[in-house]
């Protein structure tokens, strides 16, 4: 187990599948954030797709990580939620994301290997439409400005003047 290099990356990570309508929320939100705030915050903007275990190296190299994703919290479609640190369940626990098996297990593995981001944040939206297609539903599209606001507030925490 190599623990020599200290994690020091700051990453905004979009997760999801662009081919399944609202599943593309995370990736689209990160694209907007990068366009609007890319020059303001020195972070990496990463499209993580549905890469699952392949995201482990990235997680383990991060001191700060903000994840945007479609999340199933059993709420009404278009509901935004924000979680941080220990609030984010690892592996088992409440059902959150459609592909959490990938990402929550990645988080659990990172924890097991003692390489967990000190600052971990999640912004999720309850999807409305997960059918095959490119583009978000109107309800989820309407959440994008609020999602960007929430994300910007977190990034300001990361970069206090």
């Amino acid at each position: 187990m190599t623990l020599m290099d200290q994690p020091n990356r700051k990453v905004v990570l979009g997760l999801g599948n662009l081919l399944f309508s609202d599943e593309g929320f995370g990736i689209q939100a990160v694209q907007i954030l990068q366009a609007e705030r890319g020059s303001q915050f020195a972070v990496e903007w990463i499209d993580g797709g549905v890469l699952g275990l392949n995201l482990l190296p990235l997680v383990e190299e991060c001191s700060h990580m903000l994840v945007l994703d479609a999340v199933d919290a059993e709420g009404p479609g278009g509901t935004l939620l924000e979680m941080r640190g220990e609030e984010i369940p690892l592996y088992s626990g409440v059902k959150m994301s459609e592909h959490q098996i990938g990402f929550q297990e990645v988080l659990a593995l990172a924890k097991f290997r003692e390489r967990y981001p000190t600052h971990l944040h999640l912004i999720g939206v309850q999807p409305v439409d997960l059918s095959i297609g490119v583009g978000l539903s109107p309800a989820v599209t309407a959440t994008l400005p609020s999602a960007v606001q929430l994300a910007t507030a977190i990034l300001r925490e990361w970069f206090p003047d």
């Binding site: 797709g49 392949n54 459609e98 592909h99 097991f112 997960l130 059918s131 095959i132």
Partner: protein, 588 residues
Amino acid sequence: MPEIYLPLVNKDRNEGANPTHIVIDPLTRIEGHLRIEAQVEAGKVNDAWSSSTMFRGIEPILIGRDPRDAWLFTQRICGVCTTVHAISSVRAVEDALGITIPDNARLVRNLMEAAQYVQDHVIHFYHLHALDWVDVISSLSADPTKTSQLARSISPWPNSSPEYFAAVLSRLQNFVSNGQLSLFANGYWGHPAYILPPEGNLLAVAHYLEALDWQREFIKFHAHLGGKNPHPQTYLVGGMSIPVNPVGNHAINPQVITKLRQLVAMARDFVTQVYIPDLKLIASFYKDWANYGVGVGNFLSYGDFPSSGNDPDSYWLPRGVIFNKNLIDPSQPLDQQAIQEFVARSWYNYSTGDPSGLHPSLGETQPTYTGPQPPYDLLDVEGKYSWLKAPRYNGLPMEVGPLARMLVAYTNGHEQVRTLVNEMLGALGLGPEALISTLGRVAARGIETNLVVEEMGTWIDQLETNMNNGNLAIHEGSLWDPSTWPPTATGWGTTEAPRGALGHWVGIADGKIEHYQTVVATTWNGSPRDAAGLLGPFEQALIGTPIADPARPVEILRTIHSFDPCMACSVHLVDLKGNPLGIEVTMY
């Protein structure tokens, strides 16, 4: 949440009487839902049904788009198999337009795909399959000194001291005592089918963790050739977009060649000193599994890794088909016109009638869900029961994947394959017929990893030679502009994905995609019955599997996982069965 080791529902179809009907759902840990129903009588599976409970259907998204962009969409089908969908897609369009790619593009594609094999096979073994054979809880009672002796008796790998294993054990104990076993939750720990000694289990758990460190380094191979990481961005119809330039910065240059060589050397060490010895150790305890999971006995490989352009005759892993477990004669040539997909037992309709079979170039994707409304307990396995179609070759179900590739190569006298296969069989004291089994599938995957990691250096050498000789071309652009294209064209592109044969069929009209069909590996292997009632490879392989405890059918998982199913390619996220969003009704 799909949890691989947990049958979420185990129900008796005939309560209190034999046979017992088992439902395992979901089975696959990577995204997507694969559901197995099996009938168990007198301690053995006597019938089985493989179903995908989520709709696929990437094809309609592609209609009307620029064929040069298709790979960008298809590589999003699956988060694990991105590279292989990209290659199949660009090859299909190149085939349609008659484009021959430059030698450097061939080499870079071979290398990216080879890296995908090595990465995928190692990850499959340690992270998806090992826990079917390795009891994590048993490893808690291992003696670190004995584990060290065991490790040193099978491999020169340096991480083998008693202190090393004691540290792994202590970390595992801490995790368990903190109530965080969830990482390894839902295993069938303590099941009598687990027969490794505690030290063997601890060794495997230690290597499970090491494999994560290994992959974190090796994954950089793709970043060096694929540009943007994690999604490779350097594919291009006609070649690749990454330049070869001995004095360029963002290019394949001597520094990149050196890094690629270092990564291959590191991978070779891990494969030959960790993966293969572990595989032999585990297999030596589970030789019974050379008798189970035999399956349909027909094998298909499109072949891959061209030595020249994309000429199938030059494939390093040959193209061919094997029928009826025939390992004596050379494999037969593959005729893609003999491929048809059937929907008699799948939730689709064909305009030509459901009993008919359609070649993928004429394939139709018309969903017609007739299954039970979720939540439900059992599928109607007498009628249509899966979102997977049933691909058949000459009307027969075919197994695809590492075993198919190795057998086609073996029967064609591929020297490196024969050497590695014979060495593995010799170490286990088994004959070639043992390959056609659950254990054989696991062994073939290891053999193939060894084979490929040894060959990667050859392609790096060729790339370097081209670069040194001033042969820098990597993209053939003369047919890039749609004005140079014929009014209509059709093409076929294949790769051998890590988990098996992958084909894309494209029809182009007036510069746009008019038709697109993919037939992925898990559709071959996980297919339902066809119009003739023939079972798919998973289904057939399960028959005869011993089941010690129907409530904990780890034996079924062993055989299904030996195929390395990836339902993410076959289908995606929409759970028809009890998703609280109720999206099932919005689908159809």
